[in-house]
Amino acid sequence: MKIFNILLIAPFVGLLWVPFYNHQTPMLLGFPFFYWYQFAWVPVTSVLIWLAWKKGAQS
């Protein structure tokens, strides 16, 4: 099933909706939200693609 490919839309929504993360707070380790939020999408995207790859291959 290609249903897991729907997961892959998430990074587009999360990153192209800029007003959501155009903020200073909450800070994390001295990083304003704007920066750490975008960095956080890197591992999240990896995991989503991995899920789509594994699950897509199984079924």
Binding site: L8, P11, F12, L16, G30, Q38, F39, W53
Partner: protein, 502 residues
Amino acid sequence: MNGIPAADTLALVVFILFFGVTIIAGSTVSHWKKWFSGGKKSSPSTPVEGHGGHGTEEWGLGGRQFGVWVTWFLVGGDFYTAYTVIAVPALVYAVGAYGFFALPYTIIVYPFIFVVMPKLWKIAHDGGHATAADMIRARFGSRALELAVAFSGLIAVMPYIALQLIGIRTVVQALGFSGEIPLIIAFVSLAAYTWMGGLHAPALTAFIKDIMIYIAVIAAVTLIPIKLGGYGHMFDVMNNVVAMPDADHVMKAGQLMPYATLALSSALAAFLYPHTLTGILAAKSADTVKQNAVYLPIYTIVLGLIALLGMMAHVAGIDTTVSSMVVPYLFLKLFPDWFAGFAFAAIAVGALVPAAVMAIGAANLLTNNILPKRYAGVTTSRIAALGVKLGALLCVLFLNAKFAIDLQLLGGVIILQTFPALIFGLTKFRFSSTGMLTGWIVGTVVGLGICWADGLKPVHTLAIGGWSELVSTGLIALVVNIIVTGVVSMIVPQRNLAVASR
């Protein structure tokens, strides 16, 4: 010369050592490849035979046998270039948070790769295609559309190679040289490296480049904050350089739309370039490509850290109007000279690897799609790659660096117009070659026209009714292109598709 440091001989010696070893390793790759791969090559299932499985396929696509690791280094390697290391921090140095749009761009590109590129790989493998234009000729049987896509790729990649040569020149300048001799040396080494090794040269030296860049970047992003008072302090200093709009927001309201549209258009353009496609098509299997989409985002972390160097430069008190010198100055100021020399070598090697892949991708377009068939062969490919690099060298020598950056912007607009032909061919929608060709012509003319009228800016003010925002020019042209493609396809539908829909 306030706050601008200079290099000494030790930096130069370390630079020459690392740069030289990589060039020699890459140029002579055919001699040591045998021991490196052990007995693996002799396995009977070697895929080098098959569709035109002679020298050209070996030189231009590495025999389509690169596994997950080599593909990771190759695709990541020509995606994150020396120019990235120089230009992204330079942009952040100048404009702050706005310059970070490269971060979302290099994240959203991977879902796109995961879905689209394995399909392209399959079509290319089954049909023995080496370029995007090959695939389009096979599917739509249109020589005109093939030429449109081939010329778009060739024109778009030329200034990109020029920027790599500028990347090498930047670090050589930071080492204290001036004039054009260092650039000529850089060019000759690039030429030798590509001529001898073909795609095997960048594939097998890409890992040297990455390890060197990782060492330089990791050292910078851990040691510099310790020396300069932490990341929190860094952001505070940056806020004094580029003032925030208010207490809570990071970017001004008017920057949000260009941030998002530039990220999106860059992501769409990224994998239309001939060199990135070359990296993908050289993979061993479609699954290798999919698996790579899982691991490639690691490069984005590095890119984000590199971008932070632009802010660190302000904390370190580097004050220059030549923003492309920001990273070299930062290394010279905060690290011992030998390490600065090493970091500069990393940047120079980081230019060499992608420039070689770009020249090969462009050469594949020239020999497969533009020149008549009787000229096919490795020697022609080599000469074509050399010609492309000479063109890039002329760009650097006779145009100023500012103009090369503008050309690269135009290249992005041009390459985006091949999106419908390459990607819509994979979908079930029946667009016709006449429609795509018309869309390509209108999109290219509109895109270049807007760039011309705006004085070469990457964004254009779009006003509809009371709504007015800055939107990426390439994206505007692409939307026009898609609309025209759709409308013309309805009027003139495609007869007898050459390849069944997949």
